[in-house]
Amino acid sequence: MIEAQNLSRRYGDFTAVNDVSFAVGEGEILGLLGPNGAGKTTTIRMITGFLPPTGGRVTVGGTDLFEAPVKARRQIGYLPENVALYGEMRVGEYLAYRAGLEGMKRAEAKRACESAQERCLLTDVRNQVIGTLSKGYRQRVGLATAILHDPEVLVLDEPTVGLDPKQIIAIRELIRDLGRERTLILSTHILSEVELLCNRVLIIDKGRIVAEGTPESLRQSSRGASEIRVAFSGVDGATAEKSAEMSEALGALSGITAVAPGPEAGEFRLAAVTDADPRAEIFRLAVAKGWTLVELAQSKASLEDVFVRLTTNRPAEAAAIEEGAGPATDADTPDQPDEAADSAEEVVS
C-alpha cells in the first residue's frame, strides 16, 4: 500500500534519516518505534509528503508521492505529532473546511463530517470553538480530520502524547478500531502501545532501521535467557543449611544455568536457558521435598529489552562515556514513557 525506498533526509550537515526502506501492506498496522530524536517524525513527514526526501522515493498505492503529490495525498490521512488546528473555528466548521480541501461536494462533505464526528465522539462538541477544547478533544478533532476522506492509509505520529490516562485509552481504542479497515502506520516511543496495536514493528535509531518484525518475533530474537523468580515460605534466616539445600536442588534441575539467592531468605533467582520452561519441575520438586511454594514467576524478554538493547549505545561507545552514566541515562529514556503507559493501564483494571 505504501512503500518507502532508500529514504534519506539531511538537514544541512545532520542526517536525520539514513537509507530507510520499508513497505506496508494493505490492512497492516505498522509501528515505528524509536527513542526521541531517532528520526521517526522525519520519516513520517516524508511518507505523508510534507517533507521531500533528500534521497529515495515514496509511493502510495503505486502513486509516487512527489511526482503526483495531490493524487497520492488523497489516499493518506495524517495526524501530526503536534495537532495544530485553527483555534477560532468551531469543530463542525473546521471539519467542513477540511472536507472542502479534500474536494468533497456539499452533500458528501456533510455525510463525511457527521460520520467522522460520530466515530471520534465529537458530536457533543461540534459547535464548540476549537480553541476552548482540551488536548484530548483536539487530538480527536485531528483524528477526525485524518479519517474524514476515508483514506486507505492512516498515518499517526505519536497519537497519545500529552494525553491523560483516560484519554489515552479512548484514543487507543479508536485507533484499534480504525486499524481494522485500513493500513495504519503509527509512530510512538511507548512500547506497550506497539504491543497492543501493531502487527509489525520497525525500530529506528539514529536515522536507521535497526530491527524489523512482528512484536512476537522481535521478542524471541532477544538474546539473554529468561529469569525465574521462586520463593518458598517457612525458611528463616537462621537455617542457612536449608537455604543451601534448596539452592542446590534447584540448580540440579534441567535448563537451569545459575541460581542466585534473593533478597529474603527462601527467595531465589534462577537463570534458565532460552525457550526452557522449568516451572513445572520446580513445582514437582517443591511437592516432593514438602517445601511451601509461595511464588513462581518466569519473566520473558519483553519488547522493552529488545528496544533498550538495540537503541542503547554499543559497549565500545558506552565505555567512552563516563562510568555508568552513559548506559543508565540511555535506559531511562524508554523507561519513563512506559511507566506512564503502565499506569494508564492500571486505570482500566
Binding site: F50, P69, K71, A84, G100, E102
Partner: protein, 243 residues
C-alpha cells in the same frame, strides 16, 4: 478548484472572526469619512480648485493603501507556519499555488469589502450635485489594482517568516520603496530615467485613474507585478520544505 474555494472561504471567515479586522475596518472608515468631509468642506470654499471631488479623494488614499497592504495579509501564511497548521494543510490534496490563491483572494475580497461603504460618498455627491460615474469607476479600479499589488507583497512577506510582526515590517519596507521609487520621477534628469520612474509612479497612477484616465500600461504593470509576488509566495512555501 474546490480546495481553493475551501481555503478562500476559511480565510475570509477568519478575517471576520478576528478582532483585528474590526479595528481596521473602524479606523479605515473613520479616517476616510473624516478625510472626505474635510475635502468637501474645503472644496466648497470660494476659490477652491475645481475638479471632481472623488478624484481628490482617490488621490489621497495611498497611505491608507500602504497600511492596509501591510496589515491585512500579514497573518495569512506566517500564522500557519507559527502554529504548525501548515503541516496538515500541505499534506491535504492541495498545491502550494492553490493555497496562495485561496488566501490571497480572501485578503483581496476583504479589502474590497472595506471599500464598499465608501460608495456612499459618491452617493452623497450625486444627491447634491452632478457626478461623473466613469472617473469614479476608474478611481475604484485604481484602488483595487494598487491594493492587489500591495496585498500580493504582504502575502509574499507572510510566507517568508513565522512572525506576523516581521511580515508586517518587511511588507511596509517593500511598499515604501515601491512607492518612493515612483517619486524619483521628479528628481530624475535623463529622459529615459524620467519615463522609467514615471511608469513606476504609484501616486501619479492613482491621480490619473482618479481623474478617469485609464492607461493599459499601468494595468498591465500592476497585474503582472502582483502575479510576480504571488508566484514568489508559492516558491517561498515550496522552498521551506528543503530547509
Amino acid at each position: 478548484m474546490r480546495a481553493v474555494l475551501a481555503t478562500y472561504l476559511r480565510e475570509l471567515r477568519a478575517y471576520f472572526l478576528s478582532p483585528l479586522a474590526y479595528v481596521v475596518a473602524f479606523f479605515f472608515l473613520a479616517i476616510n469619512g473624516l478625510l472626505f468631509g474635510l475635502m468637501i468642506t474645503q472644496l466648497a470654499q470660494p476659490g477652491a480648485p475645481s475638479g471632481p471631488p472623488m478624484g481628490y479623494f482617490f488621490g489621497s488614499t495611498w497611505l491608507i493603501l500602504i497600511v492596509l497592504g501591510t496589515i491585512l495579509p500579514m497573518r495569512l501564511l506566517s500564522e500557519e507556519l507559527r502554529s504548525g497548521s501548515i503541516e496538515v494543510l500541505m499534506t491535504a490534496p492541495i498545491t502550494e499555488g492553490q493555497v496562495v490563491a485561496g488566501k490571497y483572494l480572501a485578503a483581496l475580497s476583504f479589502f474590497a469589502l472595506l471599500w464598499l461603504p465608501t460608495l456612499g460618498y459618491a452617493g452623497i455627491l450625486a444627491h447634491y450635485g452632478e457626478v461623473q460615474w466613469g472617473p469614479i469607476a476608474a478611481g475604484y479600479l485604481s484602488v483595487l489594482l494598487v491594493g492587489a499589488l500591495f496585498l500580493a507583497v504582504g502575502t509574499f512577506a507572510s510566507a517568508m517568516t513565522r512572525s506576523q510582526l516581521i511580515a508586517a515590517v518587511v511588507t511596509f519596507a517593500i511598499l515604501i520603496v515601491l512607492f518612493l521609487v515612483g517619486l524619483l520621477e521628479q528628481l530624475a534628469t535623463g529622459e529615459i530615467w524620467k519615463n522609467a520612474f514615471g511608469y513606476l509612479d504609484i501616486s501619479a497612477a492613482m491621480d490619473e485613474l482618479g481623474k478617469g484616465v485609464v492607461d493599459t500600461r499601468r494595468l498591465v504593470f500592476y497585474v503582472s507585478l502582483s502575479w510576480f509576488f504571488l508566484f514568489l509566495t508559492g516558491r517561498a512555501l515550496e522552498d521551506r520544505k528543503w530547509r
